[in-house]
Point group: C2
Chain length 173, copies 2
């Protein structure tokens, strides 16, 4: 425990209205008070998630991978031979919405749909050689540029504690 307290920054988008000031006659428009908002779990969770996704996209700009696409590649690599329904449902993606996603990945030759011989309804998913190579590069980028940033910000122990708590919320809330 003992995590460094929050800082009153209000640097970027949130909480930033008053701009330049020259002749300060009176305290005209001041910064707004966040109040209880900064203690609301949902509020701070959502803001953190947006920042993390934003940073993820920057780190992956060279590979053009979104967080969702990255998660698909990771899961297919870890579980080769599964069909679309299994992969999608594991990620919480509805089957209809998974089609366009796969169309995209397949058109970029990152993964492939293969008709199953056992059940000719289903499409087995596998990574292509290019897909494996891209995923390997993606992993390095994520580790060195993305996840590493958490260590710089929170420290190794806090980082692990944070992930564990979030996983607990995701699974048991």
């Amino acid at each position: 425990m003992t995590v460094s307290k929050t800082a009153e920054k209000t640097s970027e988008k949130p909480a930033d209205a008053a701009k330049g000031r020259k002749d300060a006659a009176e305290p005209q428009s001041e910064a707004l008070q966040l109040g209880e908002l900064s203690e609301q779990l949902g509020y701070v969770l959502k803001r953190a998630q947006l920042k993390v996704f934003e940073n993820f996209l920057r780190c992956m700009a060279s590979l053009q991978l979104t967080p969702a696409q990255f998660s698909v590649l990771l899961l297919v690599e870890k579980n080769p031979g599964r069909n679309q329904t299994e992969i999608a449902s594991t990620l919480g993606i509805l089957r209809p919405n998974f089609v366009a996603m796969l169309d995209n990945l397949e058109s970029r030759d990152l993964c492939a749909r293969i008709r199953s011989t056992n059940d000719r309804r289903s499409h087995i998913l596998v990574l292509t050689d290019k897909g494996k190579a891209v995923l390997a590069r993606a992993k390095k980028l994520v580790a060195t540029k993305h996840e590493a940033r958490l260590n710089d910000l929170l420290g190794q122990a806090n980082r692990e504690a944070l992930i564990a708590m979030l996983a607990k919320i995701a699974n048991e809330f």
Copy 2:
């Protein structure tokens, strides 16, 4: 040998494919391996955020308030006399998208737009009496049914540490 039969239900959303099994002839389709996914910050953050919002909506079902609407009411209460641009930008909401949101809250008589006498372009935002009453009830619901659940799950100290870390990420990542 390879994949034979698919799972029978695929009921839940996350990481849940194989359910009940009775006559276990062979280890047919098993649960998928999450692998490195469960350590990915963005993945676990997003999943936690979805769960928290989902629970928030359940807790607020009687008041019909979304997380975004709740945050607006909180901010307007804490900062009375501000205009739309200031409230919206503080919450990271773009001005065009804030209009419909206010139309909704105003139509429910929770807040009101008042033409400013100083600057007749801007609309000063205030909570109505009903808005104040609803917000007070919302706060109680959030505290007793929503935030309290975090304490049950993580404990008071961990809860505060989590909020602090998320705030730090939101502000400094």
